[in-house]
Symmetry: C2
Subunit: 230 residues, 2 copies
DNA sequence: CACGAAACGAGAGCACTGCTCTCTCAACTC
DNA sequence: GAGTTGAGAGAGCAGTGCTCTCGTTTCGTG
C-alpha cells in the first residue's frame, strides 16, 4: 500500500528524512543549541520558510531527533543484549550498560539531547515515552530472567518502612513478578548508570578517572550486584 | 585595603555584581539558553554594549555563574554536613546527599548549568575546578572519618585485576589513606548521586517514582553502604 | 595642579536567528 | 477540465551576540 503512494507523498517522506538527516549532522557537529533551521534549509538548497511545511517549529524538529536518538540508543542496547543471549545475567547486565556507554560516547550531542539538561523551555511530549523506555525495559528483562532462573536473585536487604508502599507501587507498575526490593534497586541503578555515563561524557571525570572503560565495567558490575544479580 | 578603593573600582564591583544578579534571575526564570545579554542590560538600564566592559562574552558571564553555582551548592552541602557533625558517618553521608538534592530542586536551572549538558560549544575553564570539587571532597571526608573511627569501613570486595593500577592511582590522588576499593567505589557513587538527582530533576522519574524523597534517601543510603559505610 | 591615559556608557550597525505572511506554481481530486 | 490543496520562494519582524566609534568621566602621574 505504501509503494504506489502519490509522488507528492513520497517526496514528502524523502524531504522529511533529508531534513532530519541534515539536522542530525548539525547536531552531531555543533550541539543542540547551534542547530539552526535556516542552516539546515540552506544546506538542503531550500529557503527557511519552506522547512515549516515539514516541522511546525524548531522544537518539533528537536522532538523528532530526540525520538530517533532514544530509538538508536535502544536498538544499540538491544542488539548488544541479543549478542550476549547465552551469558550469565550479570554479564548481560554489564553488556547492556556498556552498550549504553558506547553509544553515548559515539553520539555525545544526541546523548546530551536526551539525558542532559532538557533544551531550555522545552518539555518532551508523551510521544517520547515509549522509545525512552527501551533501555529500562531491557534492564528489567535481564533481572527478570535472572529471577526465573535456578539460583535466582540474591535476597536484598529489606526496604525501610517509609518506602514500602511506594516500592510496592513501582513494582506493580514495572515488574509485578519481581520482589519490590529488586525493582526499587533497579530504578535507582538505571538512573545511576546515566550518572556514570554523564560524568564521563561531560568531563567531570577529567583528571580524576583515566582508565574509563575498566572503571565503568567495574562500577556497573557493582550496580548489577546491587539489584540482586550474582 | 579594600575599603578605600577608588570610586571607580567600587562602582565596577557593584555593577559586576548587579549584572550577575540579574543574569542569575533570568537564569532561574528561563534557563541558560534564554539568558540574553541584551535583556540583562535592558533590565539594568544600560545598553548592551556597555555590558561588554564587564564580561567579554556571554560565555564568560556563564562561567561566572557556573562558579557561583558550584560554590552555592558546595556551601549548602557543607552547612548540612556541619549541622550533622555528631551523627554516624552513614547518616552524614545521607545528609550531604540530601543537601545536594535539596539545592538542586531549589535551583534547577543552575543545576542544569553545571551538571546538565555543558552549554554547547562551551568547555569550562580550569577556574571552575576547585569550586566543583567541594561536594566531592565532602564525601571523601565522610568516608575518611569513618575509616579512622573504631569499627572503620566494611571490607569491600576485591577489585578486578584490570582496574588495580587505575584504582591505586585514583586513591593516591584523592585519599592515600583509604583503601583503593573504597576510593573507587566513592568516585562511582559520586557520579551516581548525580544520576539520581538528574533523573528526578529532568523528568525521567515522571510516572515512575512518585515518593521521591524516601526513594532518594534509600538509594543514597545504599550508595553509602556500597562505599563501605555501615 | 594639569594633562594624558584609561575606563566607561551610548549608539549605530553587522550577521545571524525563529517565525509569519503573502504570493505563485505544481500536483492531486472530483 | 475546474477547483482544491500542498509546496516553495521571498520579504519582513523582532530578537540575538558582538564590534566599532565617539564623547565623557575618572584616575594616576609628571
Amino acid at each position: 500500500m505504501n509503494t504506489a503512494q502519490g509522488a507528492r507523498a513520497r517526496a514528502r517522506i524523502e524531504v522529511t528524512a533529508a531534513i532530519k538527516d541534515e539536522a542530525r549532522r548539525q547536531l552531531a557537529a555543533e550541539g543542540a543549541a547551534k542547530l539552526s533551521l535556516r542552516a539546515v534549509a540552506r544546506e538542503l538548497g531550500m529557503v527557511s520558510s519552506a522547512l515549516y511545511r515539514y516541522f511546525p517549529s524548531r522544537d518539533e524538529l528537536l522532538t523528532a531527533l530526540i525520538i530517533d536518538a532514544y530509538d538508536s540508543l535502544g536498538e544499540s542496547a538491544e542488539r548488544a543484549h541479543e549478542a550476549a543471549a547465552g551469558a550469565e545475567p550479570l554479564d548481560r547486565w554489564v553488556t547492556v550498560c556498556e552498550a549504553v556507554r558506547g553509544w553515548s560516547l559515539d553520539h555525545p550531542h544526541e546523548y546530551a539531547l536526551i539525558y542532559g539538561s532538557p533544551v531550555p523551555g522545552y518539555t518532551a511530549p508523551q510521544t517520547t515515552v515509549p522509545p525512552a523506555a527501551r533501555v529500562g525495559l531491557l534492564l528489567i528483562g535481564v533481572v527478570r530472567d535472572a529471577h526465573h532462573t535456578p539460583g535466582g536473585l540474591r535476597t536484598l536487604p529489606p526496604l525501610p518502612e517509609e518506602l514500602r508502599p511506594e516500592a510496592d507501587r513501582i513494582a506493580a507498575d514495572l515488574a509485578p513478578d519481581l520482589p519490590p526490593e529488586a525493582v526499587t534497586a533497579l530504578v535507582a541503578a538505571w538512573s545511576q548508570l546515566y550518572g556514570l555515563v554523564g560524568f564521563e561524557l561531560f568531563g567531570q571525570f577529567n583528571r580524576v578517572v583515566e582508565a574509563r572503560a575498566p572503571f565503568f565495567r567495574h562500577a556497573v558490575r557493582q550496580l548489577g550486584w546491587g539489584v540482586g544479580l550474582r
